[in-house]
């Protein structure tokens, strides 16, 4: 079950809200765990069984570590649970066991994504408990919510356990939070269904063309559509997750902060999938950087951490290449940054580089990526053809609208002190806009009942 489906929006969600708001306060968290188990079970009982084993292993490892505090049993528990988490992640993401995965019913992308995020959460928790940055959780319901809570299950939000604990303590479910939650959820749904799925069609239209005959404009259009589609799909899922968390009173931060069309790659890195990037910075870059004081070694550590992040998005050489290039480009930008030049050309330069690097995420293989890059620099000696003109004609409005929606221009306008009247009018119209978007998204997924295009090559 995915969030962008009729079954979820008009089936599971209203039932969950009715149960959660109808039940006594002391049972609310337990009811949410039970609902999460049902949600997980809907993906398949085998998926549920693995999730419960995951939960049990990390819960008991945390308890042992909390009890023995850096003594050998704690170290054994830490190593065993971490190895289990990493092995499960490797099994989920690697192509080596793809046959076994399909037989076990783990063939769906949402399952991969869910387990990938669950692994980051679990590993972060284990490291924090080991380093005594957080107490081991004794309450199984709380820990169950941390790992399995269904609004966080597909695309986060992921936070460290201490932050989760604070959010859980300050949980407040009322009509106002529900309204905020529904607004964020519908925004995410619109990102996924209206923008993400349309851009997916454009990317697919370009991907159908033989790369050796791909014109320059088509190749750029396809790569730009891909990176924008990836953004709208992932941030859409993330927003839906955050919105659902709000609906149940959990106020989590949002996962993406308008990373595309920013003024530099550093801004892109700081705004792209912030919670996952932050996780890698906290648990990979910083510990490794602390081992050395050499600037160039720290830079290598930074690039290595981005390479791992690339593998998290795509578990193969292409994913690693994307991370490596992003990391290296950010390091170079930091070193040679010219503020005046960046002000004038920052957006163009960032867009060009993020689009070029996106080729490694969209290509079937490194060879295919090189072919695509070759087409982008005009190697095929075709600038545009009738197909390019068709694509520009059909998708131009969509691309311009999506490009605008992926920037923070509208948000800035809303926050402008002089925009009192306009801001007030938009705020007053929020319920109508939310309802209109919900109706539009429902209509757009009504034929198949689900929007499950996943742009990621898992």
């Amino acid at each position: 079950m995915v969030y962008s489906s009729l079954l979820f929006i008009y089936g599971f969600l209203p039932v969950s809200l009715a149960v959660y708001y109808g039940i006594a306060e002391k049972y609310k968290r337990t009811s949410l765990v039970v609902l999460s188990v049902i949600f997980c079970g809907a993906m398949g009982l085998r998926v549920l069984a693995l999730a419960l084993v995951y939960l049990a292993v990390n819960y008991f490892a945390g308890r042992i570590m909390g009890h023995f505090r850096k003594k050998p049993p704690a170290a054994a528990a830490f190593v065993t649970a971490s190895a289990f988490d990493l092995a499960a992640l490797f099994m989920m993401r690697s192509q080596i066991l793809s046959g076994l995965k399909l037989r076990l019913g783990f063939g769906r992308e949402t399952v991969f994504l869910g387990f990938s995020l669950m692994t980051l959460s679990a590993l972060g928790y284990l490291i924090d408990v080991w380093c005594s940055r957080t107490r081991a959780e004794k309450n199984l319901v709380s820990f169950g919510l941390y790992l399995l809570m269904f609004p966080r299950l597909i695309m986060g939000p992921i936070v460290r356990y201490e932050t989760f604990r604070k959010i859980m303590r300050s949980r407040k479910a009322d009509t106002e939070t529900l309204g905020i939650g529904i607004t964020i959820f519908v925004k995410g749904l619109a990102k996924k269904v209206i923008a993400g799925d349309s851009l997916y069609c454009l990317y697919q239209a370009v991907a159908q063309v033989d790369p050796s005959k791909l014109p320059v404009v088509s190749a750029w259009l396809g790569a730009l559509a891909y990176i924008m589609c990836l953004y709208f799909t992932l941030s859409g899922l993330s927003d839906m997750g955050t919105g659902l968390c709000y609906c149940f009173g959990f106020r989590f931060p949002q996962g993406f902060n308008y990373p595309l069309f920013t003024g530099s790659l550093q801004y892109f890195a700081a705004r792209w999938h912030t919670q996952v990037v932050h996780w890698f910075r906290k648990f990979v870059t910083r510990p490794l950087s602390s081992l050395t004081s050499h600037k160039w070694l720290r830079s290598i550590t930074f690039i290595f951490s981005w390479t791992l992040l690339g593998c998290w998005y795509r578990f193969d050489i292409c994913g690693a290449m994307w991370g490596l290039l992003m990391g290296a480009a950010i390091v170079i930008e930091k070193r040679f940054r010219d503020e005046r030049l960046m002000k004038a050309t920052g957006i163009i330069y960032t867009t060009i580089l993020t689009t070029l690097f996106a080729v490694f995420l969209l290509a079937e293989s490194p060879g295919n990526a090189l072919q695509w890059l070759f087409a982008m620099i005009g190697g095929n000696r075709i600038f545009a053809d009738s197909h390019t003109i068709y694509l520009v004609r059909e998708f131009a409005v969509m691309i311009i609208a999506a490009a605008y929606a992926s920037t923070d221009l509208f948000r800035k306008m809303m926050l402008r002190p002089s925009g009192g009247r306009f801001t007030g009018a938009v705020k007053a119209l929020t319920p109508a806009i939310v309802m209109a978007l919900l109706v539009i998204c429902t209509a757009m997924i009504a034929y198949t009942g689900v929007s499950e295009h996943m742009i990621m090559r898992i």
Binding site: E176, V209, E394, P431, L438, T442, Y447, G449
Partner: protein
């Protein structure tokens, strides 16, 4: 203010989602969609294996979509939105001008299993077998599709099918003929099938192969039965801006007459049929104008006194084609594998017919084997 706005948002969304959910659960369920012309999903059966691999939820999701409150309105609005937001493709149907074309044609499976069934039938049959694999509208008007939607042409699909059938089967090339006539009204705008005129053009070639002289076009009187026909492509695309098609009937006043037309269902019950069921053209299933409600076997006797008998094995392409044959044979039997639950040989002995014409669309032939015509 934002406090009130959030509360209004919450209440309106909860009321809307709740109302749609309740209506979806409690509204009476249809088994057939009139608008889409297809069977709707049944509530999935609960089994351990379906729960274990998650397929139960997938089936439940399909059921939920099929029986969603106001589905017809939602899907029409969705089709209009989808085709306006990005390219003119709605639920796999490309909308070009007034014509609809199926973009899934390139994703069809292999037709080799169907070719094996045809070969098996021909091997165990004493008469002459003629095979006409017919392109759909996408095959003839595929050039109207944008480049990325036309990877595998129907010409290639038909060619592969013909390569696979044995030399004993006489092939009739309908593709080249229809392609040369593509500027004429040979296919419906809203359907993947040919018009009566398209069927007539192919009939002229087919009947010569079968050993007869075709009836000239001028001898037919043509009547428009309905101009409100919306075909299978329309039902998938749900595109309101398409114009409906005209269903025609070709008759000859001074020609042979049909003396008996009967249909047989899978239980062996025989009912009276008509070549043209004009009442059906007033209902939802307008295409049933040709031969009425689909049954596995139709038997037509005519006043033609040559004692020639023809067995036709076909799909919906043959429905409007059969009436043209009635001017040449004393008896025609039309077998429709799609609706047959038992073997052709359990209905009749094919060897009683000296000729067999297999007339099927390449879309049907790509769906897999035709077990009901194989010898068991």
């Amino acid at each position: 203010m934002s406090n009130i706005v959030n509360k209004i948002t919450a209440l309106s969304a909860v009321v809307f989602i709740g109302a749609v959910s309740v209506l979806t659960v409690f509204l009476p369920k249809q088994s057939q969609s009139q608008d889409e012309g297809r069977e709707l999903a049944k509530f999935p059966k609960i089994s351990m294996s379906a729960l274990a691999d998650g397929s139960f939820t997938e089936s439940l999701s399909t059921w939920c979509a099929d029986h969603f409150a106001g589905r017809s309105g939602w899907t029409s609005a969705g089709a209009a939105l989808n085709s306006r937001i990005c390219e003119n493709v709605s639920n796999g149907i490309y909308i070009t001008g007034e014509r609809l074309l199926d973009t899934d044609a390139a994703k069809r499976g292999s037709s080799s299993a169907a070719a094996d069934s045809v070969n098996d039938f021909a091997e165990n049959y004493s008469g002459a077998v003629y095979m006409a694999a017919v392109p759909t509208a996408t095959g003839v008007y595929g050039n109207l599709l944008p480049e990325h939607l036309r990877s595998d042409t129907e010409k290639a699909q038909i060619s592969r099918f013909c390569d696979h059938i044995s030399t004993g089967v006489r092939r009739i090339d309908t593709y080249t003929l229809l392609k040369t006539l593509s500027d004429q009204n040979i296919y419906y705008n809203t359907d993947s099938r040919w018009t009566c005129y398209g069927a007539y053009c192919v009939y002229r070639t087919v009947i010569q192969k079968l050993g007869f002289i075709p009836i000239s076009y001028g001898r037919y009187s043509i009547s428009h039965v309905t101009d409100e026909y919306l075909g299978d492509l329309y039902r998938r695309a749900m595109c309101k801006r398409c114009r409906s098609d005209i269903l025609d009937v070709y008759t000859i006043s001074d020609g042979a007459e049909v003396t008996e037309c009967t249909g047989m269902d899978n239980q062996g019950i025989v009912t009276e049929k008509q070549l043209f069921d004009r009442e059906a053209a007033k209902g939802q299933e307008k295409y049933q104008l040709y031969l009425g409600e689909p049954l596995p076997l139709i038997r037509i006797s005519t006043t033609v006194s040559n004692e020639r008998k023809l067995l036709v094995i076909g799909d919906s392409f043959a429905d409007c084609f059969i009436p043209f044959l009635t001017q040449h044979y004393s008896e025609i039997v039309y077998f429709r594998p799609k609706y047959a639950a038992r073997q052709l040989t359990s209905f009749l002995d094919p060897d009683d017919y000296e000729q067999t014409l297999l007339l099927m669309g390449i879309d049907t032939l790509s769906e897999g084997s035709i077990p009901t015509i194989e010898k068991r």
